[in-house]
């Protein structure tokens, strides 16, 4: 039984330049305790999809045009603001890329940590304080008892991200949405934070949706991966099979353009052209214009994800028909 199942989500932005189809028919699900990675380049809709679920899309210009998001029997997209507030920060938490802009610079860390507990009526102030201190220790902040009285600017980038994690997890949520949580950090600090999220996840048995553009981080962190391109999921499957047996030309090209995997001295593989303009309606596959394996069938209809084998799905019509072997 899936903890969260999203079906045909469409989020459009009605701007002066036209309607931007940021998320255009996305379906996926997350099981209890599992880690789902969502990868894609900037503008692919990976963040907008998750923000839509949490009711964090500015409306206007944003609008959720269609879709359902079933979270434990309730549809997140149909909830009123009041109902959403019961879920957000309590059963579903979020951490963001930049911990400096997501913490309140005027409040002591302690006051920010206990806020979710007090707001949701989960504890009185004294218990909340005790719990906050415990969380600070759990996320590995040394000298937690004194540091909890400090302001965010007194912490380093990595420490701030630890505070963010403590704050997100203090209500012991069922689902954590992590939007590029380590992108702003140095690699050695990134390694610490990833380790921490993993440990906390196992301790609390929560599910994690991990949004990232970094295929390296996702490889080691996620059980399953969705690859997004131009507002749609083009490939979805278990991490191993996404990396070792790509079955969408975009994913294959992406894998081949990462420097780490290529023998030195060779030219890096590149994807020609640019992602499509999302204000213009797309006929056929969104990747067709840049795809090396494009044929006439690609420019017709709207390719849907289809499972090929063992939960591995692709939206490539040519692979679905068996006319294309990748890698």
């Amino acid at each position: 039984m899936a903890l969260l199942s999203v079906n045909d989500l469409r989020t459009y932005f009605h701007t002066r330049a036209g309607v931007v189809r940021a998320v255009d028919g996305v379906s996926f699900s997350v099981d209890k305790g599992e880690t789902l990675g969502i990868v894609g380049e900037s503008g692919s809709g990976k963040s907008v999809a998750c923000y839509s679920l949490m009711g964090l899309i500015p409306k206007p210009p944003g609008r959720i045009e269609s879709g359902t998001a079933d979270f434990d029997g309730q549809d997140l997209l149909k909830m009123s603001e009041k109902e959403l507030n019961q879920v957000r920060g309590r059963r579903v938490s979020m951490i963001f890329q930049d911990p400096m802009t997501s913490l309140n610079p005027y409040l002591r860390v302690e006051d920010q940590l206990i806020e979710p507990l007090l707001l949701h009526g989960l504890a009185d102030k004294a218990t909340a304080r005790k719990k906050a201190l415990e969380m600070m220790e759990q996320v590995g902040i040394q000298g937690a008892a004194s540091r909890i009285r400090m302001y965010p600017h007194e912490f380093s980038g990595g420490m701030r991200q630890r505070v963010m994690i403590a704050m997100a997890l203090i209500t012991e949520p069922d689902l954590l949405i992590a939007d590029e949580p380590t992108t702003a950090l140095d690699v050695t600090v990134q390694a610490q934070i990833l380790e921490l999220i993993k440990t906390m996840q196992q301790r609390m048995h929560m599910a994690v949706i991990f949004i990232s553009h970094d295929l390296g981080v996702v490889a080691g962190f996620c059980d399953r991966v969705n690859v997004m391109y131009a507002g749609r999921i083009v490939e979805s499957g278990a991490t191993q099979s996404i990396y070792y047996h790509p079955s969408h030309p975009y994913n294959e090209a992406l894998q081949r353009s990462i420097p780490a995997l290529q023998p030195k001295g060779h030219e890096l593989f590149t994807i020609e052209g640019q992602p499509p303009d999302l204000t213009k309606p797309l006929a056929g596959c969104s990747f067709a214009a840049r795809c090396a394996h494009v044929s006439d069938v690609c420019r017709q209809g709207n390719p849907a994800l289809k499972e090929m084998k063992d939960g591995h799905s692709t939206a490539c019509v040519r692979v679905q028909e068996g006319g294309l072997e990748l890698k």
Partner: protein, 331 residues
Amino acid sequence: MTSETAIPFLDIKGLKTHFPVEKGIFFRKTVATVKAVDGVDLELKQGEILGLVGESGCGKSTLGRTMLQLLEPTAGSVRLEGRELVGLRGSELRAARKDFQMIFQDPYASLNPRMTVYDTLAEAILAHKSVPKKQMPDKVAELMNKVGLSPRFIKKYPHEFSGGQRQRIAVARALAVEPRFLVADEAVSALDVSIQAQIINLLAKLSREMNLTLIFISHDLSVVKHIADRIAVMYLGRIVEIGPAESLFDDPQHPYTRALVSAVPVPDPDRERERQRILLPGDPPSPLNPPKGCTFHPRCPHAVEACNASFPAWSQQGDRQVACIRLGEFE
């Protein structure tokens, strides 16, 4: 570094860049010094690509800027083919700058939004030599072709281009003066993977074709490994290890390099799961108040009492130079 009989193309000795921290409104006095670059020696051959890696705040950008005399060094010398650059002023410095150029991280901020591609590139060309107005469009088109931009975009403004294309314009502008030495400071960090690959290929190709010496500054080790001949690893204002790119990556010697290499995520699920990470405690210390002795010792898993004493001298270790006194004493 193997000292050759000829003068090295670029020769940096004892380079230091310190920034004073001042306090007070009426009587400003220096209360502390940020030692952003604190004693760097470096030699480069012509046509070589050196990757400069390190975490934020380690001084890699400051080093790059100081080399190009965009910042005035506190001490040390920078010689380009034997000619001292430190201390050059005014027209002398401007004339010398034809030989070295820089590419910045953010192609959105480094291009003038009110200038067309033609204006941007023509201005740069004119800074170098006088070109009759009639020939200018051809010159500009030639530059654009060199970086893989179609000359039909010549009249367009920066906002009409994507990030990757803008970075191509920035590269073209740097090449306009026909430099021999280029510093690329996080030139691909703001770009998506597929676009990043295009710019890396471009820089590698240009360096090969024009025998351009390139210092490629980046926090992304896998990118640097791909493009660079040699890699220098910086920590708190100093180079702690330098050597051939592949061997440094495959067999790092300095404890910091080891931790850094082990922390780089590899896009390979099986390898990623098996890998043993060396998790360093804490964050890099502030360059305002760097630790005594070896600056890495408070975070180093192999530190001993002696590491406190002074910053270690270089020792040759195969094809590598490493600043660590305990080499060979740990596994």
